[in-house]
Amino acid sequence: MGNNNLQGPARVAKGIIDAAMFLANLCMAAMLVLVCLNVILRYVFGQPIYWGDEVMIYLMVLLVFLGFGYMLIENRHVRMTAIMERLSVRTQNILWVIISLLGFGYFIFLLIAGLYITVDSFQIGFISTITGWPIGPWQVVMCIGLAILLMASGWFTINRVRIALGGRAEKEREEISHV
């Protein structure tokens, strides 16, 4: 971020995205602890936590949405690069702007859809079939995650526009996933 005007907001955005990723990691840790704890309680003491499986699913959903933004700015999401990397740096930079804008548009739709289903859940009063807990609050966190993703996408797009305008070569860090 070379532009001084952007440094302040960018730092705040980065802080929020990092905090969301930290929360995602906490959710992952909690989920893994819950899996292990429930195994011990079920097979050693014969009394598992009845809400364990359900909370595990919700934690997984939350950690995924909270981590999306971080993964985006780290450029760790998978894409097909076979064609793009054969193009000139200038063309690649222009394509990156288009890709970022398309992503931004997609995330707007996701956020609207997330808000729609959350409002719906509160209005109808959706509850879980196993525990009877309301689903709405979990969906609120999902929406927060999507809002952070949208913010990360905005930041990513601005960065890409700046790179394209400056014509700066950007060495792509290709992801090697554990998949």
Partner: protein
């Protein structure tokens, strides 16, 4: 209906070729179809929540975590020391260790790149020092690493089972025989190659008395224990895959701390890496679910089935076309993307042709394995290149992998002609 197909294919492949993130390309295609032909935001909202709200999917992070813990435990070095004396006695010598180690690690890892990284980081420097054939060192690691997809616990099987609602335990059981078959075939090829081209292995490899080659194998017990913890409860019908992942996690942490190099603070690193892998995976799944829901609403898979029904060709020919499609897609996409992108169309066709869902799951994973080692997009090629260090080219790794890819295609043909190779074990112990 032709217009729907046109919009879908142009949008999807256009975006993918442009280099858009795969999850976004799939999602945008789904949204376009939903908005033109009905569904819209309410349908997308439903997809957003329900696509991840699946209990079976919780096994994916659990098995990924087990892999991360083992990777940081340093157990691969111990395993290499245990197996190498015995391997030095057979044709192919220590090159055979690559296959055996990857087979053993496949039974504790859910991921092929992690498997290749764990084995490669130990074996590649050692075999280079002993002057083994470079291409074969790289090729064996690259291809044998993909056994992690076939030999349980496999994250690919968990995903497939969750997406098409098939027993993950049955899939785990189904992968065992083909996985071992591939392993034996790889070793057989290496043995024959070493017999006719002895220069691929060094002549001065030290040979120890037979008794001394057996005793070190006992040092493999930590891995065997983790292996049993990960899949034993599923086969015994005692636990769900997620619970087995939990049992595996407990076992790997205890063993890693007591008998490996694992430290408590590196557990947090394991958690963060697992989070990243999970986020990356589920980002694609959400997009794929959006597209699959949209096309299912319009009845496109049914249309494909009707079209294929009118073709007067045998099911084998259609399956061959599907294999070809996957091999081509495997060169361009990673395994997960390929699976979630094609399942809504291909799975109903396969069932319509009368093939078993478990059998097809194994076939798909085998095709994904092949895709992992075919350029330009072969994740294992990249991983082995990263582990092998500077000066190693993708071409070098791929040339070393080609004979093993042929072996995989032979297994593919055997399983297609004799589906019982896949289905008898799940029929015996799970169903």
């Amino acid at each position: 209906m032709t217009l729907v197909w046109l919009v879908m294919l142009v949008s999807l492949f256009g975006l993918l070729c442009l280099g858009v993130w795969i999850g976004v390309a799939l999602g945008i295609t789904g949204i376009i179809i939903m908005h033109i032909w009905g569904g819209g935001i309410p349908l997308l909202g439903g997809v957003l929540w329900s696509s991840l709200n699946i209990y079976g999917l919780t096994a994916v992070p659990a098995f990924c975590f087990v892999g991360e813990v083992i990777l940081r435990s340093g157990l691969s070095a111990k395993a290499f020391e245990s197996i190498s004396p015995l391997a030095a006695r057979v044709p192919g010598k220590l090159l055979q260790v690559n296959i055996v180690l990857c087979t053993i690690f496949a039974a504790v890892f859910g991921s092929s790149t992690a498997c290749a990284a764990a084995v490669g980081s130990i074996v590649i420097p050692e075999l280079r020092q002993r002057k083994y054939n470079e291409e074969l060192i790289l090729g064996t690691i690259c291809v044998a690493g993909t056994l992690a997809f076939m030999i349980p616990p496999s994250s690919q099987f968990v995903l497939y089972g969750s997406l098409v609602n098939v027993s993950i335990g049955a899939l785990f059981a189904a992968g065992v025989v083909p996985g071992l078959m591939m392993s034996v075939l790889f070793m057989g090829y290496l043995g024959i190659k070493a017999h006719y081209n002895p220069e691929i292995t060094p002549f001065e490899e030290k040979r120890v008395p037979f008794k001394q080659t057996i005793l070190p194998l006992l040092k493999l017990w930590p891995l065997v224990l983790i292996m049993i913890a990960c899949v034993g409860p599923i086969y015994a019908g005692l636990a769900t895959p997620t619970e087995s992942g939990g049992i595996g996690a407990i076992a790997s942490i205890i063993i890693g701390l007591l008998f490996g190099k694992l430290r408590l603070k590196s557990l947090w690193q394991c958690v963060t890496e697992t989070t990243k892998v999970t986020c990356m995976l589920f980002f694609i799944i959400i997009g794929a679910m959006a597209m699959s829901t949209a096309v299912s609403q319009l009845g496109l898979p049914r249309q494909v089935i009707e079209w294929i029904g009118k073709l007067e060709v045998s099911p084998l020919v259609i399956m061959a076309a599907i294999y070809l499609l996957y091999i081509i897609l495997g060169c361009l996409f990673d395994g997960i993307s390929m699976m979630v992108m094609t399942l809504p169309f291909v799975f109903p066709i396969v069932l319509h042709l009368g093939y078993d869902a478990i059998w097809f799951g194994v076939m798909m994973c085998l095709l994904i394995e092949i895709g992992m080692v075919t350029p330009p997009v072969g994740m294992n090629l990249f991983m082995v290149q990263a582990v092998a260090g500077e000066g190693t080219t993708i071409g070098q790794i791929f040339r070393g992998s080609i004979p093993f890819v042929v072996c995989s295609l032979i297994v593919l043909a055997i399983i297609t002609i004799y589906p019982a190779v896949v289905t008898w074990l799940p029929n015996l112990i799970v169903r």
